[in-house]
Each structure stands twice: as structure tokens, then as C-alpha cells.
């Protein structure tokens, strides 16, 4: 923390003019170009940038972990060992020299706590192994230290936890175990590569506060890689902004947020701050007319079905949910992983058949139907009115189909349009979502993530639907693209009179985009209300915790670390 970092402390790590290149086919991708920075004891330096900025590659270069065929082509990475400087670049990726740095002097934690621990070795085995790699102590002593570390990262029952496997832990617990492993040999530097990105926001808050606390206790230097300006504001002392492999700006965290110097930094902060305030939207009409009304909906999955087919218990994925979506309205559903929000969206399309309750839907022709009870055939006719947009624009588009085939597919199956009419319609749709009209002949891989999500949206609106269920449509996108996609969706809403059910874990996009919001936890809606009220005056304790845990992109609103 700023107060803890000794001024003018001798840097423990000095990176000078680092360059990393990836030969691809016959060209070379310059992933990192002439990046220089220093890191001092007790200091947190945040490396921030969007995807492809080279921040992760920079972090990996420090431990010589750049994946082949990438390699460090220039620069120095000087580590102060206390008895002189060691150039990590000269150590190479194999051999004893670099192995003594890895884990011993510089440790690293990774983004995916789900897959960063071996699934077939116990937590204890992996920590003890790390200790024994670097220190000549007995297995018993190493085990004792591992237990103490697990206790330190607040894993309950540390002795027993040593003998458990990573898949027996939740995501947050796995990341705690990973941190314990990284700290097992008292490294001077901890590199954290998006360590909280895959975690729920309340878990993220816990992990960030744990990291802060450990850093304060040990005087470690932390290099923290993130794309989230909110997290930066929460934990950084200094910030380095990267863009396309180059350093854009390096500054004290307060200076960066309050007086950004470079246009890119300003634009980045602008996109973040734009999401901090709700987008202007017309007032709701006094008389609402519903398009869908969910009442007392439940979906229970049987668990542990025994020999006689009698389930021992039920997983209540949706447990008595009631929610109304009005015409032209955007209703947000927010919740952490496992809250049932995605399942709720899918149940509306009958991807799952609910076990109880009703989903009344008013069709375009004015007829009211209960989606929960429709037959497969009747449901089919609804697919032209109710469409879905998925989270991952990389896997929700078939890579073997051209964009034209992808967008025209719903037209082909639901209308009698001729090939010529479909061509015209697809060109029109592409233009409407801000893509070139002649993009139809190309394949999805030719488009970036943001463009692919636009293709998904074009596919969803091809049939002029009335209700779109959008499941985390912006979560896989960089922050500068998020509000663009949301603005596009808003424009389409005004044009077509669409209603959205907008599912997200991200409070800021919900606040930006939605009229009303429902907060879900364990399959139930704990609170529902106007988006302004939920975000600013949440009533339910869970909503309060959730809103408080969201890292605000303002270093002056920092949560204080627990004493």
C-alpha cells in the first residue's frame, strides 16, 4: 500500500527494454516491445491492459515461462538477490539457474484456480513438493509448514485440507491454496496474473484483501496483472498501462485515475467510467403491459439417484421464482455463479423443462401461452419471437459456417424467404449491427471478439424477435467494447420495441443497461426493484454485500484492509 512502500527503496526487480516475439507462420508477432519498469519491496505494481496488450506475456517472461514458440529477444530482467544482480534473461528457460528463481525468489499465481492445481494430486502433495524443491528439510517439517500456510490463507481445518484434492474445494478456496503454495518458500516477488478474474465478486473481494494483508506482513513486491480498472483502483500503488505490447503510461495510482496523461489511458478510463453511470433511457410508461410473467417457477434436479430410482435430495436450481418482463423493458438478473440465473434464462426457452410454476407469455398475436407447458411443436413457433444471445462469441458461432450461413440459419428454418431475400436481409442486418455488409462470406474466425458478438446479435434479431434472453453477452469482451455492444442492443430495443432479459454477474453493466433488476441467490430472487434503487440503496443483506464487493474504479473509494 502506498503508505507501506518505502520511498526510493532500491528496486528488487528491474526490467529494461524487454521484447518478446512470437514467430507465426512467416511473420513475427511482437507481443512485448521495449517495456521497462521497476518493482520495489512492499510495492504493488498493476499491469493493466485489454486482451492482446502483452501484459500476461510480460509477466511470464519474468519467470522465463513464455510458451514456445515465443521467446525473449531483447532486454534485461534484473533481480536483486541481495548479493548482486542476476539477469533472468541470461538464465534461459531450462536449467538450475532459473529453477532456483522460480518459486523461491519469484512465485506466481494464475487466473484459473480451477485448472492451476493438479486434479490428481492432493493440495498437500503440491505444496510440500514446492518446499522440498527449494529447501533441505524433512517431509514432516514441510508438511507442518504447508498446514501453517493453509491456516494463514484462512482455509478451515488445514491439517485435513492437506489431504484433499483441488476439485473438492470451491474456486475461492483453490485460489487460497494456490496462494499458499506460491508463498511456501517466502518469495520476494509475487506475480499475480488475473488471480480474481474467474472468481465471483464477493470471493474476489476476499482474495484481494488476503493478498493485501499477506503483502503487508511479508513486505513482498507484487506484480498484479489485470484488465479490471476497479481492481487496479483497489490494490495498486503504481500502475503501468499496456497497449499492443507497448507501455502507454506508468504512474502512481491516484495520478493515473485523476490525471491520465495519454489518450489511450483516458479512453480506457472513459469506457470504465461510462459504465459507472446508467445510460440515458426513456421513462417507462405509466401503464406497463407484460410480455412474460414468470410465477413461482421451480426447476429441481434429482441428486444421488439410488438403485430404486428414488433421489436422495434435489438440487434446487430455480426455487420459486416470480418475475415479470414488460414490453420494451430490460430486466436484469444478477447473481454469482450457481445462483441459477443462467438456468432461469434457459428455462424460458424450455432448454430445461421446469418442475413447477408457470411462464406466461403473450405472443405477438395477443394469445397468452404457458411456456412451461407447451409441447415441443408449439414451442418451435415461439423460437422466432424469443431468441438468445450467449456469453462466449468464440464458441457460440459455428466455425465451419460463414457469417451469412450463421445469420440466415434462423431465417431458413422459420421463414419461406428465398436465397436472394435472405442475402439482402443478412446484408441489412450486418450493417445494422455495425459490420460491413459484405462480411457474410467470411468465417467467424476472421472477426474479433466484439465483432463476433455483433454477429450473434444479428443472428438473434434476424427474425425480428420480441424478447431476447442475453446471457452475459459482454462478459467475454474488453471493457472498451462492452458499452458499444450494450449501446447497440439499446438502439435495437428502441427500433424494434424489444424486451430483454439480461443475465449478468457484473453490476456495472446491469446498472448501465437495465430498467429493473432481480438479484438471485441459491435459485431464489432475494430482491427485485428499480436498478437505481438496487445499486444505491439495496435492502437485502446479500445485495448489500454484493454491491459493496464490487471494486469501484476510484482509488479514493478503496476498501480498507482488515486490521
Amino acid at each position: 500500500m502506498p503508505s507501506n512502500a518505502a520511498p526510493n527503496a532500491k528496486p528488487v526487480l528491474t526490467v529494461k527494454n524487454l521484447a518478446v516475439e512470437f514467430p507465426v507462420h512467416k511473420s513475427v508477432v511482437h507481443a512485448v516491445r521495449g517495456v521497462s519498469f521497476t518493482l520495489s519491496r512492499g510495492e504493488t505494481l498493476c499491469l493493466v491492459g485489454e486482451s492482446g496488450s502483452g501484459k500476461s506475456v510480460t509477466a511470464r517472461a519474468i519467470l522465463q515461462l513464455v510458451a514456445s514458440p515465443g521467446r525473449i529477444t531483447a532486454g534485461e530482467i534484473l533481480l536483486d538477490t541481495g548479493s548482486g544482480e542476476l539477469d533472468i534473461v541470461k538464465l534461459g528457460a531450462l536449467g538450475r539457474g532459473i529453477r532456483e528463481v522460480r518459486g523461491r525468489r519469484i512465485a506466481m499465481i494464475f487466473q484459473e484456480p480451477m485448472s492451476s492445481l493438479s486434479p490428481v494430486h492432493t493440495i498437500g502433495h503440491q505444496i510440500v513438493e514446492t518446499i522440498l524443491l527449494h529447501e533441505k528439510i524433512s517431509k514432516e517439517e514441510a508438511r507442518k509448514r504447508a498446514a501453517a500456510l493453509l491456516d494463514r490463507v484462512r482455509i478451515p481445518n488445514p491439517e485435513a485440507a492437506l489431504d484433499r484434492y483441488s476439485f473438492e474445494f470451491s474456486g475461492g478456496m483453490r485460489q487460497r491454496a494456490m496462494i499458499a503454495m506460491a508463498l511456501s518458500c517466502n518469495p520476494e516477488i509475487l506475480i499475480a496474473d488475473e488471480p480474481t478474474t474467474a472468481l465471483d465478486v464477493t470471493t474476489q473481494a476476499e482474495i484481494l484483501s488476503l493478498l493485501r494483508e499477506l503483502q503487508r506482513d511479508r513486505g513482498m513486491a507484487v506484480l498484479f496483472i489485470t484488465h479490471d480498472m476497479g481492481v487496479v483502483a483497489q490494490i495498486a500503488d503504481r500502475v503501468m498501462v499496456m497497449f499492443k505490447g507497448e507501455m502507454v503510461e506508468q504512474a502512481d495510482v491516484f495520478d493515473l485515475f485523476e490525471r491520465p496523461q495519454q489518450p489511450y489511458t483516458k479512453a480506457l478510463l472513459g469506457s470504465v467510467l461510462k459504465l459507472e453511470t446508467p445510460a440515458p433511457r426513456p421513462p417507462r410508461p405509466a401503464e406497463e403491459s407484460p410480455i412474460a410473467e414468470i410465477s413461482d417457477l421451480s426447476l429441481h434436479f434429482p441428486l444421488n439417484v439410488g438403485m430404486l430410482g428414488k433421489p436422495a435430495a434435489y438440487l434446487k436450481a430455480i426455487d420459486g421464482v416470480s418475475l415479470t418482463i414488460n414490453k420494451g423493458e430490460t430486466v436484469g438478473v444478477v447473481g454469482e455463479s450457481g445462483s441459477g440465473k443462467t438456468t432461469l434464462g434457459r428455462t424460458l426457452l424450455r432448454i430445461y423443462t421446469p418442475t413447477g410454476g408457470q411462464v406466461n407469455y403473450w405472443r405477438g398475436d395477443g394469445v397468452e401461452v404457458d411456456i412451461a407447458r407447451l409441447s415441443k411443436r408449439e414451442m418451435k413457433s415461439l423460437y422466432s419471437e424469443v431468441r438468445m444471445v450467449f456469453q462466449d462469441p468464440h464458441s457460440s458461432l459455428n466455425p465451419r459456417m460463414t457469417v451469412y450461413q450463421i445469420i440466415s440459419e434462423p431465417l431458413r428454418t422459420n421463414t419461406a424467404m428465398s436465397e436472394r431475400e435472405m442475402r439482402d436481409r443478412v446484408a441489412e442486418l450486418l450493417m445494422r449491427v455495425g459490420l460491413p455488409a459484405d462480411g457474410g462470406e467470411r468465417y467467424p474466425h476472421a472477426f474479433s471478439g466484439g465483432q463476433r458478438q455483433r454477429i450473434s446479435i444479428a443472428r438473434a434479431i434476424a427474425l425480428r424477435p420480441r424478447l431476447i434472453i442475453a446471457d452475459e453477452p459482454t462478459s467475454a469482451l474488453d471493457v472498451s467494447l462492452r458499452h458499444q455492444v450494450l449501446d447497440l442492443m439499446r438502439g435495437l430495443q428502441d427500433e424494434y420495441g424489444l424486451s430483454y432479459l439480461f443475465i449478468s454477474h457484473d453490476i456495472s453493466v446491469i446498472r448501465y443497461f437495465c430498467d429493473r433488476v432481480a438479484v438471485m441467490k441459491n435459485g431464489k430472487i432475494v430482491e427485485i426493484g428499480d436498478v437505481q434503487q438496487i445499486c444505491e440503496r439495496p435492502e437485502h443483506p446479500y445485495t448489500q454485500t454484493l454491491i459493496r464487493a464490487v471494486p469501484r474504479p476510484d482509488p479514493r473509494l478503496r476498501l480498507s484492509a482488515p486490521a
Binding site: 522460480r102 487466473q111 484459473e112 493438479s118 524443491l133 503454495m181
Partner: protein, 328 residues
Amino acid sequence: MLLYILKRIAGMVPAMVAISILAFTVIQLPPGDYVSTYAAQIAQSGETVDSAVLNSLRERYGLGENVVVQYFKWIGGIVTRGDFGDSFEWNQPVTELIWGRMGMTALISVLTLILMWAFSLPIGIYSAVRQYSVTDYVATAFAFLAMATPNFLLAIVLLYASTMWFGVSVGGLFSPAFENAPLSLAKIWDFVTHAWIPIFVLGTAGTASLIRVMRANLLDELHKPYVEAARSKGMPEGRLILTYPVRVALNPFISTVGWVLPALISGELVVSTVLNLPTAGPLLLQALKSQDMYLAGAFILLSGGLVLIGTLVSDILLAISDPRIRLS
């Protein structure tokens, strides 16, 4: 763990029942029943048939009764007395004919399987770790060639080569001198000198595909985050690869027993016929040709059982190697 094994064994029971029904269907397929075929054959050879004997046979197998009753008499005899019925072609109880041959089949199959693993595992690992190296290309070329070569062709070529060029007779599993000799070191050595040909023939294609399986599995694992995390701890590269990705990549490899074993047993039929081996295959073929149905049924039942046992072994090995299977 014990519970897991018990559950697996319980799960095998319906499969075994299904196999027995299938085997019984095969027995029932030829026109007429076993006893009338038997009587016709004896009559053909000019001998008189004692109708009392025929009646007792009918009684024993429940012939003339409902098919379900016949099935239960047949399976009941197997389960309670180990009685698989009689082979009318050999005029002997099936059990006397079958055990030695089935044992040989099992021995050859298991030996082949072990050798397949012993070769394909290291080659597959090397191929994956040094992807696109010369060794990887050589292994790949060998693998495709070996997979594409039919077993019988390989057997004939080997027979030809060893007889014509080396003057060694390699048919059978033992030299005539050792055929009926008691077990001794010399006999085992004699077996080894004979058995390598069928093992080689049977195992080549399987080894080749297992190399590919291991290579693909390991390539999937090599770039997983947990490997990078382990590397960031400072582990030496060789130890790292063997401890982490190979350990995880072994799973699909172990479960290959499930399909390798049936492939071996059916492949064994062709190879053994070509090489004239005293295993179950040629006898089954002969039994099918001469409609010796109780013998054929017994072979089908036992081969099916062998496959089930192989699957059980692979399931148990999987549970030992992967806690995710053991604990959930």
C-alpha cells in the same frame, strides 16, 4: 474404494446376463435342436442310437420345453455345476475342451496387452513432448503403417519369412517335444520363442493406435495451466512432465483396456487360425462351422466374460490413478 469396486462388480451382472442370453441365442439359432442334430450325426456314422440316452439328454437340456426354461437349465448348469453341455463333434463335455484353450487365449491377450503398454507409453510420451521432431515423425509413420496392415497379412509374412529365410517353424505355441511336457524353464523358453510371433502380430496395430492415443492425450495436457503452475514452482522439466501431465493423460490410456481387449480376442481368432495356435479362436471357428453350438456358446460366453473382467480391471486401475473417479 471397496464400495466402488463392489458397485462395479454389481454393474457387471446385468452385462453378463445379456451376454449369456446372446450366447444362448447363438445356440438356438441352427434349425432343429441339439439332440436331433446329435442323433442325425451318430446315425450318419452308421451306429445305432440309444433312445434312452437321447431322452436323458433331452431331459438334461429341457429340450422341447419353453425357451426360457431351456435357457435357465443351460445357465443353471453352468452356474451351479460348471457344466457347459457337451460338444457333439468331439463327443466330450465342453469344459474339457475349453479351459486349456481359453487359458491360452487369456495368456496371449494379457501378454500382448502388457507389451503394447510397455512400448506405446514411452513412445507416445516422447512423441508428444518432442512434437514434430524426427522421432515423432518416425513414430507417426510407423503408427499409420502398423494400423493399416491387416493382422493376417502380417502373420503370413512372418510365417513365410521365418520358414523360408531362417528355417524355423513357428506355427503353434510349443515345439512338438514340449507339447505335453510338464511345466519347466525349458518349456517356458520354448513358449517364448513361439509366442513372440502371435504377440507381435496381435500387438502391432494396437501399439500403434495406443501411441497415437497417448500422444494426443498428452498434447492436450501439456499446455494446461497446472503444468505451467508446476513449472513456475521451479520443478525440473523431466520430473514435471512425468509427475503432472503424464499422470493425468494416463486416464484415457488406461480405459483403452475396455476396447483393446475385445479387439485382441477377436483379432486372436484370425491370427491363431493362420498360425495354427492352440487357443480358443480356431476351436470357436470350427465349432461355428460344424454347428457345434454348445461349444460355440461357451466360447462366446467366456470371451464376453473375459472382456468384462478386462473392463473391471481398467476401472479399478482408473480409480487408483484418478481421485476424481474414486471420490465422486
